[in-house]
Amino acid sequence: MEFFFISMLNGLSYGLLLFMLSSGLTLIFSMMGVLNFAHASFYMIGAYIGYSLNSVLGFWVALFVAPILVGILGAGFERLCLRRVHKFGHVPELLVTFGLSYIVLEMAQLVWGRTAVEFAPPAALQGPAFTLIQNSLNGLSLVWGAAAPELCTAADAAVRVVCSPFPATRGFMMMVALMMMVGLWLLLKRTRVGLVIQAALTHPEAVEALGHNVPFVFMLVFGVGTGLAGLAGVIGGSTFVTEPAMAATVGSVIFVVVVVGGMGSLAGAFLASVLIGVVQTFAVAFDYSMLMLLQNLGVHASAAMQDNSLLKLTLSQVAPILPYLFLVLILIFRPKGLLGTRET
């Protein structure tokens, strides 16, 4: 049981990190009409800037300042590059973000080196947020922080006790993502600025005719979107690893999230990121293969079949492919995504 809870929490926290990234991406997509290939690069920059600020000003300052800096960089990129390219159509826009992702990668490697940097979370976030204690007599219980050692050891050998601490960094990651989600929702649905943004995304000409500065709104959205990626970078970088390849590893997954969730749909992005996070985490836990399935169905497996490397593949081994499989299936059967509205 504690395995289920811990895996669920692991999956949720990873999914929420993906959401922090993909929410910005999907907003920018609704605005530009093309995917921003450089989005994950802003995630990486956020991690690196966070790392640099962390060593000078401390983690909490870095957590606030780094996303703002990344947002300013993003807004600057929109103002100086994207806006000029916009009039040439979607393909040049796409190519410009594609080029940017390479420039950012090489620049980061020049500045911070080609290997991972040591970006440790602050002392307050080291150690467990809470500990699940599974006792075969008393059942499941929860202790905040680290559990005392006597709680985790059974005096009686017949009693099985398992303590599963949940790292505070992951709890923090979930908390920030949820706060961000609520904040974003309030901003878009409950404020005047949000109203203008929503209108500008779908009917830019009409909004402009009403006297609003639409290019400025676009710049703002781009800045906020990349800033959110920067925030995810500071948290993701300190929880996992800060290295040049971190953009490439999440980059492809967040495209999957945006496509599966439905292009331009925030709720869809949320659903898809949590889904992918949880599915990927749980897939790792299952050692079922095609061979076992066949045997359970009563098919007699010959020796050659038992040695077939394709049939022997377990679900845990194919876990990294699952998101992309999902992507292909969604594009075939429901091209607008789970909660998407537009047919593209």
Binding site: F3, N10, Q109, R114, T115, P165, F240, T281, D287, S316
Partner: protein, 410 residues
């Protein structure tokens, strides 16, 4: 006339001296083809420094009197990139290739070197494998042009399981490895050896995860815990071990780890004081060897602020130099012949490059992660911890038979 006679006499004398020590004073270039960027970058860079350090140190004084020069090539841990690097190295006229990180890469290099040497007589290159431990390289795929200076997986697992045999608390074992030749071999030999030596041990799980891809091992740790394993055997190295151990600490896994590469970049820091007494390593060296090794490690630390853990590099230089002296040449063909069956004295006693399969025969040490003390003072990555020796396996104990049918040229 007199001047001319003198000149000829000098020339004759000089050439006589040269033929006696034909190799003396020559520069031997070694191409190191290893990852110097990416997740495994820190490890590869540490080993590049190790090669440079010993190249410099041993150039001052070695039996053959040659100068060693190391040229680093970044292969990004990819076999395809490694073949490009090999080509670049050969184009620069480098005739000695060294590589260690990843048996996937080593396998590709062996094939490429075999082909090159067959097609380009007079331009042969030698492959000095200092850490790729897939047993196939000295068995079914053995090559005359390949020499291995690390102990292979069959040897390490032999020693490791001999120790585990006498550990009554080992009951349920989880095999956790990287999904490529090396990891698969570790799992295979662990199963074979354990079923032979401790049939009562239950293998409760077996995992093969992608090499150098996983950033978050927490789901795997949850799985290991759920399996009820009290012991994990892993051949993981570099970031794959450091992040695994980090996730194990965070996830509250209390079982024992039997590893190959605990002392290697990143893992000591990830372990910290948490793993005391629970993490074992089997290797041909450890951090407290004493003697000249201690001085070298101190000097290395002073110079690079990093730890030296790749002692096989010393075997490489010592053996090369002895062989060059014996062959009176730096020509790889002659040196290869001299390397076969060569015995040298190294930091872990006498080592021998076995003639039948070019696998070095050497002593192995089982060490445990614990607090550094007066007896075992060296602390990797300034953790305050060290790897203290528990058991030594002399080379005849850890030696394993080979099925190699070596094809020799000529």
């Amino acid at each position: 006339m007199k001047f001319a006679r003198n000149l000829i006499a000098t020339a004759v004398l000089a050439s006589a001296a040269l033929s006696a020590f034909a190799q003396a004073g020559e520069t031997v270039k070694i191409a190191l083809i290893d990852p110097q960027s990416g997740l495994m970058g820190p490890l590869g860079l540490n080993q590049l420094k190790t090669f440079q350090f010993f190249g410099e140190t041993l150039s001052k004084n070695n039996p053959a009197g040659v100068k060693f020069e190391v040229v680093g090539f970044d292969n990004k841990l990819s076999p395809a990139e490694s073949l490009n690097a090999l080509k670049a190295a050969m184009d620069q006229g480098i005739r000695y290739i060294a590589q260690g990180n990843g048996s996937s890469v080593a396998g590709a290099l062996i094939d490429a070197v075999n082909k090159h040497n067959e097609r380009n007589p007079g331009k042969e290159v030698l492959f000095l494998n200092y850490a790729a431990v897939d047993p196939d390289f000295t068995n079914s795929k053995c090559s005359y042009w390949h020499f291995r200076f690390d102990a292979d997986t069959s040897m390490k697992m032999e020693a490791l399981t001999t120790f585990m045999k006498d550990q009554p608390d080992v009951k349920k074992v989880y095999l956790f490895n990287q999904n490529y030749s090396h990891g698969q071999q570790v799992a295979k030999f662990a199963k074979e050896n354990l079923s032979r030596k401790r049939p009562d041990i239950q293998i409760v799980g077996e995992e093969l995860h992608p090499l150098a891809q996983v950033r978050d091992f927490a789901p795997y740790i949850a799985k290991i815990k759920a399996s009820g394993a009290d012991t994990v055997i892993t051949g993981n190295w570099g970031s794959d071990l450091a992040l695994l151990v980090k996730a194990a600490n965070e996830g509250g896994y209390n079982g024992k780890f039997y590893t190959y590469y605990t002392g290697v970049t990143g893992t000591p820091t990830a372990l910290g004081t948490g793993g005391a007494g629970r993490v074992y390593q089997i290797a041909y060296a450890h951090y407290n060897m004493g003697g000249q090794m201690d001085k070298w490690m101190a000097e290395f630390k002073k110079r690079y602020n990093d730890d030296m853990f790749t002692g096989s590099v010393i075997h490489v230089y010592n053996s090369l130099s002895e062989a060059m002296k014996k062959a009176k040449s730096t020509d790889p063909v002659k040196v290869a012949a001299a390397l076969e069956g060569l015995k040298t004295n190294s930091f872990n006693g006498e080592v021998e490059l076995r003639k039948t399969d070019h696998q070095i025969q050497q002593a192995l040490y089982l060490t445990v992660w614990q607090k550094a003390d007066k007896k075992y003072p060296y602390s990797p990555e300034n953790t305050g911890m060290t790897l203290a020796p528990v058991k030594t396996f002399e080379s005849y104990v850890s030696s394993t038979p080979t099925s190699c049918q070596m094809k020799r040229p000529g």
